[in-house]
């Protein structure tokens, strides 16, 4: 019995013209390449532009270290929110959560006199708990994740404020190992190293494990994912829990950086984190959130803002940035994933007059 390979398939239009020269083939491939590596290009541009504009300060070691250190918190949060985003869910409790984590890690040492190790551990466990609660709200009670996490975030904010009584927690001193978390090893800020390490782990999970792939599969088509035996509650739940734990970790670093417990420090991280993850979705794997894209995006945002600051821009420029980038990022990301579908539609010629219940004919099927 021979297997019949399709004979009557009308061939698809070629994806690019026959390259007559390298130049032409590059030109033809440009849109695809730009999509894939555009962010890296943008990053290079940002670095070059600001180095040229403010050579003495921009590339200076102090600026570099400060930027990397501070932006590590954003980077961790962007990586954290990537997980639910992969399944098409939002976690808007990030900002309030990292604020509460920061308050707790300081407050538990100052008010409850716990050792820094125990404080950190508790904050991480709280992160797990927050993630679990979000997971239950979304998968068990089927509350739209946008609403559910907005609500849970607000509750966390309430807890933060209750704990601090509306005041700043100012420790007289903090143990060396704790404050040393934002120090350096071999000249590289430790938080940045942690970000890199976490990125590697997340990359491996998302790109090289079956459950990780399951997140993207759910994000693509929840219904189809169910029919391939993927357990939606387990995967989405794990995504939220992972997000929660990483957010807790980010809070620990934030606390170490600020050395105070301030309830209002935290909420402003939500948009940059989202902007980073969504802008990252426009690159490397256009249309879906991914680790490398997120990292590059966060770097772009970080250094662009830093550069602008070096040039003396006012403090509110960062809001301009975050808002603008968010709009651009979501717009581009949507465009990138729609491009695939549009390209597919263009390849399958459909007569607009085609009556719907006609049996498909060889001519109609591209």
């Amino acid at each position: 019995m021979t297997e019949v390979i399709a004979s009557e398939e009308s061939e698809k239009p070629k994806q690019s013209p026959v390259p007559r020269s390298i130049g032409r083939s590059l030109w033809a491939a440009a849109p695809g390449l730009l999509g894939k590596y555009g962010l890296v290009l943008a990053f290079a541009v940002v670095m070059l532009v600001f180095t040229w504009l403010a050579p003495k300060t921009f590339l200076g070691p102090i600026n570099m270290k400060n930027t990397l250190t501070f932006q590590s918190v954003t980077a961790l949060l962007a990586l954290a929110v990537m997980l639910p985003l992969a399944t098409n869910e939002f976690d808007l409790s990030l900002g309030y959560h990292v604020g509460m984590a920061q308050v707790l890690v300081i407050g538990l040492q100052v008010n409850q006199n716990l050792s820094w190790e125990v404080a950190v551990l508790i904050v991480l466990l709280v992160g797990l708990l927050v993630g679990t609660v979000n997971a239950i709200l979304v998968t068990r009670f089927h509350i739209n994740s946008f609403i559910a996490t907005l609500g849970s975030g607000m509750l966390l904010y309430a807890i933060s404020n209750w704990y601090t009584g509306g005041m700043q927690i100012v420790p007289s001193s903090l143990p060396e190992p704790f404050t040393g978390m934002v120090g350096q090893i071999a000249g590289i800020p430790i938080p940045a190293l942690v970000v890199v390490a976490l990125s590697v782990v997340l990359w491996l999970v998302l790109e090289r494990t079956v459950p990780g792939r399951g997140l993207y599969v759910i994000g693509s088509s929840r219904r189809a994912a169910e029919l391939t035996g993927i357990s939606i509650p387990k995967h989405v739940g794990a995504a939220f829990i992972g997000c929660g734990v990483i957010t807790g970790l980010a809070g620990v670093f934030l606390g170490s950086m600020l050395r105070t417990g301030t309830a209002s420090e935290g909420p402003e991280f939500l948009l940059p984190a989202l902007a980073g993850a969504l802008l990252g979705a426009t690159s490397i794997h256009p249309g879906r959130v991914n680790v490398i894209g997120t990292l590059v995006a966060v770097l772009i945002l970080a250094f662009a803002f830093s550069g602008v600051q070096q040039l003396g821009a006012p403090f509110y420029t960062q809001y301009l940035f975050n808002g603008g980038i968010l709009i651009v990022a979501v717009g581009l990301s949507g465009y990138a994933s729609r491009r695939n579908v549009l390209a597919a539609a263009r390849r399958a010629p459909v007569a607009t007059d085609e009556p719907p219940d006609q049996q498909p004919s060889p001519a109609a099927e591209a």
């Binding site: 019995m1 021979t2 297997e3 019949v4 390979i5 399709a6 004979s7 009557e8 398939e9 698809k12 790109e207 090289r208 494990t209 079956v210 459950p211 792939r213 399951g214 993207y216 599969v217 693509s220 088509s221 219904r223 189809a224 994912a225 169910e226 029919l227 391939t228 035996g229 993927i230 357990s231 249309g287 879906r288 994933s337 695939n340 579908v341 390209a343 597919a344 390849r347 399958a348 007569a351 007059d353 085609e354 009556p355 719907p356 219940d357 006609q358 049996q359 498909p360 004919s361 060889p362 001519a363 109609a364 099927e365 591209a366």
Partner: protein, 504 residues
């Protein structure tokens, strides 16, 4: 009593990019009659209706209403339509849905709700039907009530002609009776109905005349009294229906893989049958006949109200939906709706081939090289074009996407594979290829269950066929008896033939 001609269509033709949908059709509906319009899918019924509705413009031909030439795409005509997808808004009330066609009574720009509810009651009273609560949400109505609402709505503007497209598809017998009573009242009042249907016994119950389309041409027009289901069937299919041979004895089929015992899904009647290893069994019927749900119930995607499904001797849990568990037991589903339930848009062919633990051998680790190798062999085996496994699946044609889905489930042998509408929206070459894979898998001992409403597909693929009519198994066909014509006649409930079928 039928009166003078109401709608006269002469020489209607329509072509769609090289494909002739209608050629020179002469069709006439008298006033005060119920006129059945019958034909296979693709025969041109839908096109004809859409031209009368003004959605398409005919290439040639004339349409006359009461003797005057009209142009449906320009003139407003007293013709009301009810399509298969009734077009009701579930989240709005009955009254609002009626008002969507009748108009919202208003004064000074504000809606007069009192008059709106009254308007609803009136619309139902016109047909001597009891209205449901006008303030109730349409979403909470039964399919039968929804269909009635669709018709009441269509009739509220007192049209001269009513066109119903498969109105009884999802109705229960009592609902069908209510519908037909309403149609009889209309007829007495002089309104005519064009009834597009596949269900011949219903035709013989309510229609006065019937016209048959085949391949875009009108091949028969007769009074219902002057013809028979067999004659209509032959006109539809264009072939003489030969007497059935005795079917060949059951070939070397393996042991029973699944027993379905008295399974009741969603208010249908109890269904029982067996599936054996190496057998390609077809569950076929017109849309809404209940076979679709049984297939889903076996896969764990639909709840079972009563009865039991045994896989290899062990009864499966009947509560709730257990797709994951069934997959672990070796039962997989290839759904009909590729776009919404099968394909992972935005992901590569490779990722679509191996999306989850149930679709791959090995553990939780993804080896890029290993996956590439396995993808390449599957792409070759199933003739997927373009053959690059890192291609995004949206770039593939429908036929190739279907091949990817087949490869996903056929790659590793399953205990039972349930496939819905396997060759829908797929080109001829791919249809044959798919038939080969199904046959090949069955020859290797795989049990395959095909769930379909496509007679040709079923005739091509299956060893044995169970025909569903109105939620219950009506007929069983086996071996040589499975031809497109016999399957079609059995599904349409054309009496005589249904009783003379051979068993394996």
């Amino acid at each position: 009593m039928a009166g003078p001609a109401l709608l006269t269509i002469r020489g209607l033709s329509k072509t769609f990019s090289g494909q002739t949908a209608l050629s020179g059709v002469d069709f006439e509906v008298l006033s005060g009659e119920v006129h059945g319009l019958v034909g296979e899918n693709g025969a041109g019924k839908s096109t004809l209706i859409k031209i009368v509705a003004g959605i398409y413009e005919p290439d040639s031909g004339t349409i006359e209403l009461d003797g005057r030439t009209v142009h449906p795409n320009q003139d407003k005509l007293p013709i009301a339509f009810m399509h298969q997808e009734v077009g009701l808004v579930d989240t709005m009330t009955v009254g609002e849905n009626v008002a969507l066609t009748l108009g919202f009574p208003s004064r000074g720009g504000l809606i007069q709700w009192g008059r709106l509810w009254g308007q609803t009651e009136q619309a139902y009273a016109q047909l001597n039907l009891r209205a449901p609560d006008p303030k109730g949400l349409v979403g909470s109505l039964s399919p039968g009530d929804k269909a009635i609402l669709g018709i009441v709505r269509a009739l509220a503007r007192t049209p001269r002609l009513l066109v119903l497209d498969e109105p009884t598809a999802y109705l229960t017998l009592p609902d069908v009776k209510r519908l037909f009573d309403a149609l009889r009242r209309l007829r007495a009042a002089g309104t005519s109905t064009i009834l597009v249907t596949h269900r011949l016994h219903e035709l013989f119950e309510i229609a006065d005349r019937v016209s048959v389309l085949r391949n875009g041409a009108l091949v028969m027009s007769s009074t219902v009294a002057g013809t028979s289901p067999a004659a209509i069937g032959e006109a539809m299919l264009g072939r003489r229906l030969v007497a059935l041979d005795a079917a060949p004895s059951a070939s070397s089929l393996g042991e029973v893989v699944a027993e379905i015992k008295g399974v009741v899904v969603h208010g249908a009647k109890p269904v029982s049958f067996d599936i054996r290893r190496g057998e390609v069994l077809g569950l076929v019927g017109l849309r809404g006949s209940g076979h679709e749900r049984i297939g889903r119930a076996i896969c764990g995607d639909e709840e079972i109200e009563r009865g039991e499904i045994n896989l290899g001797g062990t009864a499966l849990s009947s509560r709730g939906r257990h797709v994951g568990r069934r997959l672990r037991e070796g039962v997989a589903l290839l759904p009909a709706d590729r776009q919404r339930e099968g394909v992972f848009s935005g992901m590569t062919i490779s990722e679509n081939l191996f999306p989850s633990a149930a679709t791959r051998a090995g553990g939780w680790h993804v080896s890029v090289q290993g996956e590439k190798r396995r993808a390449r062999s599957l792409v070759e085996r199933f003739g997927i074009r373009p053959p690059d496994s890192s291609e995004i699946i949206d770039h593939l044609s429908g036929g190739n996407q279907q091949r990817v889905l087949l490869a996903r489930w056929f790659a590793e042998p399953k205990r039972l594979l349930v496939i819905e509408e396997p060759t829908a929206g797929v080109d001829v070459g791919a249809k044959f290829a798919i038939a080969q894979y199904v046959r090949g898998a069955a020859d290797k001992g795989q049990a395959v269950l095909i769930v379909s409403s496509d007679f040709e597909e079923v005739a091509m693929l299956c060893d044995r066929v169970l025909v569903f009519v109105r939620g219950a198994t009506a007929t069983e066909l086996a071996g040589k008896a499975i031809t497109e014509e016999h399957v079609a006649m059995a599904c349409m409930g054309a009496g005589g033939h249904a009783s003379r079928v051979a068993q394996a």
